[in-house]
Subunit: 378 residues, 2 copies
């Protein structure tokens, strides 16, 4: 009997970050420049002035980032994704012909409304669309759930393969977060970075499955929607005024203290316990974890809570050198630490953020996982 | 043996459209007003002037729409979705407690980047998040694939239920398309409208499944990405200039003639044949179809091609009274025609548009499908 391949493996992982490296000192200088420009249009209150103040020391201490990388003007999320995907296919010596779906996780679509990035990527990669006179099926979607976008996209890839609706999915996690920075607010200006990643998710026999339906766990809490929010520019406020544009109301803003006080105890305790309990695992079972690199001091607080509950594994991260790359952060951290993803290791991938939202995946590495990183030239 | 419920039914469908009805004459008047404003800032070429010209007669003849409805200022896609979902739960006498996932199909998210609409809807509906001290799992995603967003979202709902990863999903198709209108271009100004829809997708025993994995078919063609496109405002061009904003480059634009000449022969012929062949069906098997109501004359050309190939069923649509509501169009058409969705009917849902993209679903009604429509008061 022909077996249906209902398990999923990751066949390879690739990350790309652009060449323009931006230090903390550079971010601080840019904020100072914006403060000078702003002063010309009127006095700033002490509270307002504070939003422009930062330093390398402050960012390293309270956020844990040393630098990030920004796209050049004229490039968008699609360019980050294309480079990561091209590298993945080239290094794996894989043809685009077998790809039957693109799941494109991102919070910074290249275009509002249309065209979707998934469609643009089909063209950029030259994935064939015709078999003679018959169009070749090609599933796709742009998927967004704030900082939980990538694990949510991975979960959707799994459901497509598990349900026998796709066999070879290109999973993208890419964000040009620099496009959403308000340079009048250190809150996100010190945090965000740009990167693109690509993972090939392939159907395998069920006994080789890296995951299971019970190994995915998600959560949405809209009562905290205002904590990480773009006030203007979406359909709720589609035509920002000149003043709103000048003050960056169409860019992302965060109540950092509220995010920390809500997410640390939640992800550090009941959320991870609910996810592990669903999977029949405990924290002690995890050899490797990767947390969405939102803020390294926040993540350290979460990991501390896990350690007290029995977690003894290793944390894979990007070392504060890429900033918060949103949909790219977890696959970027995995690609930067290829040696640890060896066969037999049990891993946990933990994304959380705007919404508020959380999306977790637990799995076991069952095949070698080639990983590739390309850093653009300055 | 406890049976896993791997089939999916639609348990109810609901549509909401706002109270502000906008006639074709009103759209034509608004375009004339914009032309007058534009003239003040310089001469228009004959070509440019033409973009402002339309009339009730022209719109009825070439697009087939008589009117559309627009949200009031201050409301966004989330408000359309909330009303549709509240109505659905109230009329079905269904509790929000059992909902374990929200798949939110839209091309006009209420906020850029964050918060996601799926999270906001959890809060608006009061879907419980805690069972005592344990957080209750809640999956969710915002899904976008231009005019194919809703059928793609339906496909993802099916894969989640089929893979035993969700049992009761709230599927949203909602768009405040008025937010994306460029009032200096009749192309979309005569076409777009606002509406929200909600469908409850529930797990049922496999023998009661309305669908199957082979009954979904999708397609992406990024080589035609420019045909339906928002030039500025996305991550590829995040900071439109004042001139770009003044000329509506951050709004949706279309090459209508190219869209028609590409999509009509494709959807009318090889695409529908590929989808039906995959499902083992023919056009003659379809009792009911609903096409994304992009443009009624374009859709009529597609249906003509199908009729010549044996299609003898009924076309369910919104009669040109709501405009092109993107992610809401097909569920709105179904909700407006409840009498036809009787048990045993075989239906085809055909979405296509920006990307270019297409996403089709074929199914059989196996349970009664309550449908509700609420029109806002002017």
């Amino acid at each position: 009997m022909a077996s249906v391949l209902r398990g999923m493996r990751l066949e390879g992982i690739s990350a790309y970050a652009p060449g323009h490296v931006v230090s903390n000192a550079r971010v601080a200088a840019r904020l100072r420049l914006e403060r000078m420009r702003t002063r010309r249009s009127g006095r700033l209150s002490a509270e307002e002035a504070k939003l422009f103040e930062t330093s390398d020391r402050w960012v390293r201490r309270f956020i844990g980032f040393s630098q990030r990388r920004f796209c050049p003007e004229g490039e968008g999320t699609i360019d980050l994704a294309t480079r990561a995907a091209q590298q993945l296919l080239a290094r794996l010596d894989a043809s685009p012909d077998g790809i039957d779906a693109i799941v494109f996780g991102s919070v910074t679509p290249s275009h509002l409304c249309s065209p979707p990035d998934a469609a643009m990527l089909q063209d950029r990669l030259g994935i064939p669309l015709w078999l003679g006179a018959t169009p070749r099926e090609m599933k796709g979607a742009d998927v967004s759930l704030a900082c939980s976008s990538w694990v949510t996209s991975l979960m959707l890839c799994y459901s497509l393969i598990r349900s026998d609706m796709a066999q070879r999915i290109l999973l993208i996690g890419a964000d040009r977060m620099s496009a959403t920075i308000n340079w009048r607010d250190r809150g996100f200006a010190t945090v965000l970075g740009d990167a693109g990643t690509a993972v090939l998710c392939s159907a395998v026999p069920e006994e080789e499955d890296w995951f299971s339906p019970a190994r995915f766990w998600s959560w949405l809490d809209g009562s905290c929607a205002d904590m990480i929010r773009t006030p203007a520019g979406g359909s709720a406020r589609p035509n920002p005024t000149a003043r709103e544009l000048a003050t960056g109301q169409n860019k992302l803003a965060m109540d950092g203290a509220a995010v920390r006080s809500t997410l640390v105890p939640f992800v550090g305790g009941p959320a991870v316990e609910a996810a592990l309990s669903k999977a029949g695992w405990s924290l002690a079972d995890l050899d490797l974890v990767s947390l969405h690199e939102a803020n390294r001091t926040l993540n350290a607080s979460i990991v501390d809570m896990w350690r007290k509950r029995g977690f003894a594994g290793r944390v894979l991260d990007a070392g504060g050198r890429f900033g918060n790359t949103t949909a790219a952060s977890i696959p970027l951290a995995l690609a930067l630490n290829p040696g640890h993803l060896s066969v037999g290791r049990r891993f946990g991938l933990f994304a959380f953020g705007g919404g508020l939202s959380a999306s977790f995946a637990l799995g076991t590495v069952r095949h070698p996982l080639p990983a590739f990183v390309e850093l653009g030239q300055a």
